[in-house]
Subunit: 410 residues, 2 copies
Amino acid sequence: MKMSQLFTKTLREAPADEVAKNAQLLIRAGFVYKEMAGVYAYLPLGIRVIDKIKQIVREEMNAIDSNELVMTSLQRRDVWEKTGRWDEKTVDVWFKSALQDGTEVGFGWSHEEPIVEMMQQYIKSYKDLPVSLYQFQTKMRNELRAKSGIMRGREFVMKDMYSFHATKEDLEAYYNRSIDAYMQVFKRLGIGEDTYVTFASGGAFTKFSHEFQTICDAGEDIIYLHRGKNIAVNEEVLDDAVKELGISREELEPVKTAESGNIFNFGTQKTDEMGLYYTDRDGKRQSIYLGSYGIGITRAMGVIVEKFADDRGLVWPEAVAPFRVHMVSIGDVASEAQALYDELHAKGIEVLWDDRDERAGAKFADADLIGIPHRVVVSEKHIKEQVYEYKKRTETDAQILTHDQLFAML
Amino acid sequence: MKMSQLFTKTLREAPADEVAKNAQLLIRAGFVYKEMAGVYAYLPLGIRVIDKIKQIVREEMNAIDSNELVMTSLQRRDVWEKTGRWDEKTVDVWFKSALQDGTEVGFGWSHEEPIVEMMQQYIKSYKDLPVSLYQFQTKMRNELRAKSGIMRGREFVMKDMYSFHATKEDLEAYYNRSIDAYMQVFKRLGIGEDTYVTFASGGAFTKFSHEFQTICDAGEDIIYLHRGKNIAVNEEVLDDAVKELGISREELEPVKTAESGNIFNFGTQKTDEMGLYYTDRDGKRQSIYLGSYGIGITRAMGVIVEKFADDRGLVWPEAVAPFRVHMVSIGDVASEAQALYDELHAKGIEVLWDDRDERAGAKFADADLIGIPHRVVVSEKHIKEQVYEYKKRTETDAQILTHDQLFAML
């Protein structure tokens, strides 16, 4: 895409009230716009990143036989009253409003209760199990404070998945498959090496749930890491976990992390509460086992920003970068730049061409701020010798490459 | 996709309180689930249709140089107060709530004001114009009644586009390009022949706005059609239009229609009200011309259902069908069915394979209800002779085709 046709604009400064590094950089680089604290619009560059993250998540959820749907944001009071979670003393992040006839409605901060309610229509017998469903949903959470940029918003995009099973064993097997799928997601997003499956507090049915915690200075959590055994434990269950897992407190190293995902085994608690059952082969009514699995999509984008950005701007891993190549043309090289642009396109390489009438320094500064992995300069100086200046975003020095060397590099 | 792996279930009956034909059929066929009146979840089959409609719209908006972004649902009071539209006496479809500190927020029923406000950050000089932006957004409208299924929801998906221009002429030229783009969208959706660019009431700057009205018995509008001159007029501006266009009232035929899209020339009214200006080449402050362009995505899906469905169920036009081929296997033909399924896949043809252990009659009834354009039956009876039973959804009688004839047909 030509930058002259892309709606984006780098800004010298982020809004004064924006304290999170991720949002400051994303606003300055033209990826997001701040509507209010914790509420961000996604501009064309931002959407490209979000769509890539979503697609990676989608492929991995499809690979474990989950089906994509989309639930509603508007939710019913009676559905949430079945588990006592309509009450604002229990759930303190509700946004609520009312229909014109006075009927109260809530805006979805989670979809566990609504999907269990919906399944009353689709799960009748053992033949309907197991089933796994996921969605990308804009969640609304009325957070008291919203100071973490897109890492914890009042409006944000989440992938939430729910699986329903006839037996405890079937749920546990699926739960373990989902752990592998999640780790595959984080690996593909470029944060796999720093993301740990972490023991966290469970519920009525299981001692532990699992979080996926990514080492990140901007994170809000502390986990305790046993690097040798690759075990990670959330602070909240430290005592229990140490006992259970046969590790000693002293071997554990505290690290600051951001929660990139979490999964939860509800057992039959929620389905029982809501009256969702199935009929087995013998015609007997049986409880249904429920698992719940979340990944914050916009949050993952924020974690990636926080982890990789440097003092010059954003640094995107290849898999989620808005474009693969940032081509900068300098001087009177329109036809040569067009030729390279066309050739990159023909090879299926996504390229952003800075064709603006700006000085080289400003273009380079913007390229660093935007953070696309590969920068290629087409300049009057070099084009006579049929060479290009090439620089990786993560490196400081550029190299001079011939046409063939350049394409070998990309 | 194999139906045994698809989350869907046809239902014998729609909920008793559902009065709209489109929602009744979509619920029975397993495309949508009703959360409450005017609020529907989209199941996997439904998402496939929505995504196809979106992709067609996306391609046509990109073709007129518009850029995709996504605004926020949570909106600020101060932004809407600038035009007086925060007031519920002016806008009667607001859902409102409040942050924990008491700050009122609204849920986006439209995004005109928020996008004009946002552009304060991005439009400074004549160099920043023209610019066109669009989004697919889940809109919230607190409709008093919601009896039209997905054709008029309280929560629905809309494509809304906004264009900003330095001059009246530039806006008018873009407005006309958008008319062509919209007609191209409706043509590709399969409703082009029955969709009319219709004169409707304008505003401070223009006598008329334009609606795209699709002939549809379930529609809520009446337009007056001059078939000879291909002119359509909304009832509300009939007298004005008759005068202006030099047609006589008697030549016009009243037809029931559904509004599939609308476009509006705001002139500089809204941008002036909100204080959005640009600086021209001479450094002078100038007003900005704004156009606004909407297509209801879920509404379009509803219109398509209403127009084409028959007494056996849904009938999807090729371009938006969830799958192209509905393959039904009957009896002990697993390997032959698998071979055909693989071959269709290899040719890039999307196929839904009803591999369920059900009797043929039930499978055929479901195929008709779901409405995929081409049905292919692999049965014990015919497979010995290496032929397939083929039926178009729109036809009643099946034909017997050889392998080559079948692929020639698809």
